[in-house]
Symmetry: none
């Protein structure tokens, strides 16, 4: 993702019968790195978010890196069970995928139920500035209804 590119836009897509959907060209490039790697994350029920590896790095991966270093430095010896517990959660929360041919994404097996969709169903694709989100339409409407009134105050707060 080129630095400074904000991911925005709202799109409607339909999953095909194999749980694939094609991302809009304008944003597809923004959520995969040079190797074509895209991180898929379970956010809240009904929503998955897609990240380019480098952006992801800043948010989580650097933390994971830190943990890795600590493990190697032997600084986790009294906290194995916590490391294990966190690792477990990391494993369900995120996975790495590669977009296929025409920026087509196959929703990974364990993530389908979380998104709450069946084949041939519609989903919303929403830019969230730093990542791209895939929404179950129902959950999307629900979120909109809840969040929309906060747009103005939020905008003020973030621009002040």
């Amino acid at each position: 993702m080129a630095n400074g590119d904000l991911i925005t836009g709202e799109f409607k897509r339909t999953l095909d019968d194999r749980f694939r959907l094609s991302l809009p060209g304008e944003v597809a490039g923004l959520v995969s790195d040079e190797q074509g790697g895209t991180i898929v994350v379970k956010e809240q029920y009904g929503c998955l978010s897609l990240w380019a590896a480098d952006q992801w790095q800043e948010r989580i991966d650097s933390g994971v890196d830190l943990i890795r270093q600590k493990i190697q430095a032997g600084r986790m010896q009294e906290r194995w069970s916590e490391v294990q517990r966190l690792g477990r959660l990391l494993s369900t929360r995120q996975t790495t995928v590669k977009l296929a041919n025409r920026s087509r994404l196959l929703i990974p097996e364990g993530f389908r139920g979380f998104l709450g969709v069946s084949p041939n169903q519609e989903v919303m694709i929403v830019g969230a500035v730093i990542c791209l989100e895939i929404w179950n339409p129902t959950a999307w409407l629900e979120t909109l209804k809840q969040d929309m009134p906060q747009f103005n105050p939020l905008f003020k707060e973030l621009t002040s």
Copy 2:
């Protein structure tokens, strides 16, 4: 297990009629050492964990070291029976196995009941960073429900 490789990922597998399951290729190599040794450990009811034998040894050694230090510091005098109990558990709750062809693991006899599964049943395979875990699906869901809210605090704590 190559140093620095964290074990992550979530997979669904089915036991065959002889209590065997094939581990995903991506993680199978991470839980056996050069001699092909894998340690199976009873973790909590409904869950077994798999470790590369050499890594496990390191982990135990460092733990034993810690206990030795505490003993020498005179901090265990009131806790001999606990230490003894720990030692006992250390030996009963684990066993060494070798993965067969195609990364196939036979769940050892004494460990099946603990996992709470019957042949032809599904299990979840979950990376826990330092080990790989095999979960009874029900126990896995239960754990997730309980632990997921702690993800953020736990992450903060371990990266601080």
